[in-house]
Symmetry: C2
Subunit: 363 residues, 2 copies
């Protein structure tokens, strides 16, 4: 079984070209269209999508959410029970923890995101914390484990996708149980009929097709919690968990594209540049700077779309003929700034390095 | 300007690995999730998406469709005018002409589709032919040109995306002017607020963001009509146009996947295999055969989802432990059968070669 595709293989490559497995993942998963960054809410169907296993097609009328383990008053809720709870709609920017992975050298072998694993949706649901309280978790609980209905193998280990949060994290985060997206029912590929949304954290925490919440009196040891989504510097490094989204900005590519290379051509003269910036943990954006003609200049910021959603930025540029390197760099209110080069980690997580964009200005 | 990304570069490669430009396209465009092949109608947001240029965001209330050129009674219609026409909703299977391109050797440098550039939606609109008639095309008209609002460069040539159909093709095809998809308004990335759907043809004919219809007394010479979407055997070959969808089938991958390789593992015993088959031009599927344990066996067919939409197939398999090569092969009522290897063409179009799937059966 040495050669079984179910056994761990190479995990990174120094080859600048990409393997067929990476391309198959890129065809299957989908990124945002950066030209739509002008939309406060990402149009349905263009929000990034990263699913580990097959999308399960679940019937809303049959779906239940079980609360089990170290609860004194465990229960099982139907979707109708959950939808009868107080309803909230919240715009949230979600980003895949692997966004920017293809910019790391050596390149971790996984979904080869460049910049596009991002999206902002209006999520409709109910706060999770009151429901957890109602089930009376014992004071000895160390983790709440959230299990999805999606099942498969990773590095030879079969498992349902699962993640956990501690009681302290539940108290601090505005975690939602979500059944709606952009005013409509959740779509199958986004976790229908029920998912978590953990605002301010990378997307791996927002478990889709949520089926079970288990209160544990020990730390959760699920594969997706302890084996992946960790910042590791070398093989054998236990690492630290990936949690909050790191500060980041993107530019709406100006001008018009070439079909294959996506190179951009702009007419000389005044150009209105714009884009989005966001950070994790509900921390607002303090500043966006744009590299224009070799100089970092401050962009104007719009009010954020929501506490957990991105901020629009814009700046005027007088484009002169020739080839130009544009870039944007955000700083959040906690003082975190995007690096020019992100520190390396084995999984290629949280690469929030400054995006560069080459633009040809025609005279 | 030799090195400008706006000038024609290499068009194919013998390298089995993929370039960064191909991966950027794969991240941007998106394929169907094959595990959702069980759905008669592809869930919104998982229909394949291939956009040449940036998605234009058009306001429905401002949008007009101009009929101009060699019409005796040309006019301009608002979206409301068009939506006041007789309404029809039709399930149509669309496939990108480049589907399967990554399976060709040498590989054409373009969007590296494997099998997933497919989808079936319920399109709501009005037949195009009566509106063309109302504008009174002159008897000398040779082509109707359909212009989108999407603009960019391909091989150095700037253009709006455009395609044409002859009067004879208009008379033969059930072309729709479409404003709705799956019971909702068209999404921006699918051509909002107005697009063509040309049932039975590859997707390139179904012009999105439709803004103008020009009647021409000569053949249309638009880039997307004469430079691309042609079956060419060698450089300099004028080639023949890509038109109707070729017969094809796909299998819903059985069992459960490995995250990275998408390899499949199935438990030994009875397995219900299923998938979809379709052909172009409204020709029904006559037969699907499935390769099981080295033998081609006939699958059961469900009635097609529509005249221009796919057919579900299924077959029972008694899976025995070990590694298995599965495949499916469709034949349409006109006698066209999927080849084991598709004939080569420079653009990598219409590769309808039989899909193979390797499955590990656990005892």
């Amino acid at each position: 079984m040495q050669d079984s595709p179910f056994q761990p293989g190479a995990t990174r490559t120094a080859d600048p070209e990409f393997t067929r497995a990476e391309v198959a993942l890129a065809n299957r998963n989908s990124g945002a269209l950066l030209e739509l960054l002008d939309c406060d809410i990402t149009p349905t169907g263009t929000h990034y999508l990263l699913n580990h296993f097959d999308v399960p097609v679940l019937r809303a009328q049959d779906h239940v959410l079980e609360f089990d383990g170290a609860f004194d008053a465990p229960f099982t809720l139907s979707l109708a029970d959950i939808m009868a709870q107080p309803q909230i709609t919240l715009p949230v920017t979600l980003e895949c923890a692997g966004n920017g992975r293809a910019g790391m050298q050596p390149r971790p072998l996984s979904m080869p995101w460049m910049h596009e694993a991002i999206g902002t949706s209006e999520w409709t649901g109910t706060p999770l914390a009151p429901l957890l309280e109602r089930a009376k978790p014992r004071s000895s609980v160390q983790d709440f484990a959230f299990l999805g209905a999606d099942y498969g193998y990773d590095k030879g280990v079969p498992h349902y996708y699962g993640r956990s949060l501690t009681p302290a994290q539940i108290a601090q985060l505005d975690v939602l149980l979500v059944w709606g997206m952009n005013g409509a029912a959740l779509l199958p590929q986004h976790g229908a009929p029920l998912r978590l949304v953990v605002p301010g954290w990378y997307g791996m925490a927002s478990v889709k097709w949520l089926s079970r919440i288990t209160a544990l009196e020990a730390r959760y040891q699920g594969f997706q919690q302890v084996e992946t989504y960790r910042f590791r510097s070398h093989d054998g490094d236990e690492g630290t968990p990936v949690t909050q989204i790191h500060v980041r900005s993107l530019m709406k590519p100006p001008g018009v594209p070439d079909w294959f290379t996506r190179a951009r051509r702009v007419q000389a003269g005044p150009v209105a540049l714009s884009g989005r910036a966001w950070s994790g943990g509900g921390v607002p954006i303090a500043r966006v700077e744009v590299l224009l003609d070799g100089e970092w200049r401050a962009a104007r910021l719009s009010p954020p779309v929501g506490r957990y959603a991105w901020t629009r930025w814009e700046i005027d540029w007088n484009a002169t003929p020739g080839q130009h390197d544009l870039a944007c760099r955000a700083t959040d209110a906690a003082g975190n700034t995007q690096p020019l080069n992100a520190p390396y980690n084995l999984g290629g997580f949280a690469n929030n390095a400054v995006q560069h964009l080459s633009v040809e200005v025609a005279g």
